[in-house]
Amino acid sequence: MAIVKMKKLRLLAIKSQRDELLRRLQLLGCVQVSEPEKTEEGPTLARERSDVLECREEHRELTNALALLDRYTSAKDGLFAPRPLVQCSTLMDDAGEAEKLAFAREIIDQDKEIKRIQAEEMDQRNAIEALRPWLELDLPLDYQGTKNTRALIGGVPAAVDVGAMKQELAAKCPCSEIYEISNDREQHCLLVLLHVSEQEALTEALHTYWFSPMALAGTPGTARENTESAEKKLADLAKEREALTAAIAEKAPRRDELKLAVDHMSARIAQAEAAGRLQSTESTVVLEGWVPAEAEAKLGETLSAFDCAWETAEPDPEKPEEVPIKLRSNALTAPMNVLTEMYSLPAYNGVDPNPLMLPFFPLYFGIMFADLGYGLLLVLAGLFMKLKLKPRGTMNHFAGLMLEGGIMAMIFGALTGGFFGDALTWIAGFMGKEFSLPALIDPMRDTTAILIASLVLGMIQLLTGVVVNGWLNLKDGNPGDAFWNVAPVFVVFAGLGLGVAGITWIVAIVGVLMVIYAEGRASGSIGGKIGSGLYGLYNFASGWFGDILSYSRLMALMLAGSVVAQVFNSLGAMGGPLLFVVVFLIGHGLNIALNLIGCFVHALRLQYLEYFGKFYREGGKAFAPLSVNTKYVDIKED
C-alpha cells in the first residue's frame, strides 16, 4: 500500500565466508547488492573477482541441451501443466553439477554430430542428383581416351540444337564423334570422342556452343557405380543419424533434472553477479546495498552466524533517485502493478500510485467495456489463468486486472442491459417471444447523461490527483506549496458551481485571482508575477478544460462497443438462426478483441496523462534483491 522504507546496508565480512554468506543472503532474498561507489575504490580496496562468465556459459549450455532434448523427443509439457515443486536445499545443492553439465555437453555433441551427418547426407544427395543424367554412360567418368583419341564428358545448354551442332562438327572435324547421353530442361549431356589431331579445332568449335566439362569428370568408376556407392553411404549415414537421435531421445526421462540444473545455474549466476559487485582487501570483502527496513531483524539473525560487521543507515533525503523502490500491495491493488511498471516506478519521495488507481482504472474499463457477456468471458479467462496456469509476476497481476476489469464490465453491462449487445432479444425473437434485458441506462438514448457522468467522474479523479499532490507537498515540508496548489482549484470549481447555479460569481472571481497569484508567486518582480500569473491562468484554464473533456472517451467507447455489437446481431439475424450463430461468433470475437485493447489503452491513458500529470513523481528503479528466481520449478521452503 505504500513504498517500502529502505535502509542503506554496509557489510564487512571474512573473504573465506564470502560464498556461504551470499548463498544465505540469496535464500533470504531481501538484500540488493549495489555497484560500489567509485570514490571508494583505492589502493586498499579492489573489485572482487567472480566466475559470472563461466556460470553464464554453463547456463547457456544447459539451456541449449534442454532445447535440443525438447526438439528430438517432441515431449512437451502441456501448456497448462503446473511447475514441479522442489525443495529449496535441493535447488541450491552444488553436488552433481559437474555430472549434469557433462550430460548436457553429451547432448550438445550428439546434436553436432547429427548436424555433420545431415550435411554429409546433403552432399551425397547432391552427387546422386548430379550423376542422374549420366547413368546411361557406361564409361568410367575419368576415362581419357586411347592413345590416339581423347574423350570429353560435358554438357551444352538446353537451347543448343544438338543435331545442327553434330552436322557442323562433322564437317569441321570428320574424325570426331558426338554422342548425346541424355537431355533435360537445362542441358544436353554429351560424350565427345575425338582424334588427337583435331583436338584444337574441336575444342574451339565446342567453345562456341558453351560446352562445359562435367563437374564430376575425373571421378573413378562409371556414373552408375558412383550412384550406387553414394546410395549405400546415404543408407549408412541415415542409420548412424537415427542411432544418434534415438540416443538423445533416450535421455528424455532426465529432462526434469536438466530443468532443475538450469534453474540451479540461474541462481549461481545471481550469486556470482553479486560477488562481482563486492570490493575486497586481502582477507575481507565489503558489501554495499539496500535492505527493506522491515527485514532488518531477519537479516541480523542470518548474519549472526557469520564473522562480520554491518550497519544500516537511513537513505540520503537529497538523493531519492538512488533508493530502490519496492511497492507493498494487497490482493486488490497488486494488479495495478502492471500499469505502474509499464509507466515508471515512483520516486522514493513520491507516492505509490497503485491504491490511487484502484478505484478508477477498473471503473473506467468497466464503463467502456460495459457488457455482461463480454465481462463474464473476461472474468472466466482471468479465473482460468489464476487457477490453472498459476502465473507469477506480471502475468499474475495481469490476470488480476482481467478479473477486476471484467467484474466492473459485468456491473455496467447489467446497468446498460447489454449481454453480447442485444443478443437475447434476437434469440427470443427466433423463438417467437418478445424479450429485452431491463436496463437502468440505455447508451443509445441517454447519451448526454452518460457524457456528463463521464466528465464528472473525470473531475473527481483529477481533484483526487490535486489533493494527493498537496499531501506530497506537505510531506516535503512545503505547506505554502500545498495550499496554493490545492486551494485555488477547489475555489475556482466551487465558484463555477455557484455561478452556474445563479447564486453568485464572486467566489469564482476570487478563485481566478487566487490562481493568478499562485501561478505568479515564484517570479521576482511585480510585472513578472502578473505576467506569469496570467500565463499560468491560461494554462490552468486550457489544461483543465482539455483534461476534463478527455474523459468523454468513456462515453464514446461505451457507445461504440454496444453499437458494433448490436449491428452484428442484427446482421446475423437477417439470415435466420444458423447464420446468426456464425456471425455472432465471428463478430463478437472481433468486437471483444478490439474493445479489450481499446478500453485497456484508453483507461490507461486517462491514468498516465490526465491523472499522473497532477501528482506523480516517477523515476524509481525497482528493488532487485539477490534471490532465487526460477523458471521451471516452484520452490518449497525447507
Partner: protein, 162 residues
Amino acid sequence: MNGFFADFGGMAIGFLGAGLAAAICCAGSARGCGIAGEAGTGLMSEDPSSFSKVMIIQVIPGTQGLYGFVVWFLAITFMANAMAANGGALSVEEGLKYACACLPMAIGGGISAPAQGRVAAGTVNLLAKKPDDWFKGIMLCVVVEFYAILSLLASFIMLTRI
C-alpha cells in the same frame, strides 16, 4: 426530369452517402492492412514463427472498413424504414441528411486507416527488434483507432437523430 429527381433523387443521394461510407473506409482499410502486411512479410521471411503476432498487427487497420460497413448498414436500414413509412419514396431533403450523416465515417475512416497502417508497419519493426515490447506498438495503433471510433459515433448519432 424534375419530377424524376424529386421521386428518386433522395434515395440516390442517400445511397450514394451510405455507399461512400463503406467504400472509402474499405479502401482505406485495404491500404492500411496492405502497408502493415507488407512489413509483416519481411519479418516472416526471417522468422516464420512470428506469423500469429504479425497477423494480429495486420488486421488492426482493418477495423475502419468494418466501421464503414456498420454505418452503411445502419444507413440503408434506416432509409428502408423511412421509405416504408413514406410509401416507398425518400424526399431529397431526407436523402441529403442521410448522405451527410455518413460523411464523418467515410472521411475519418478512409484517412485514419492508412495512418494506422503505417503505425502497424512500425509495430512489425518493433516486433522484429524488441519482441517483448510488441504490445506497446499495438497500443500506439489503438491511439489512431480512437479517431475512427469518434467518426463512427459522429455518423451513428446523426443517423439516429434524423
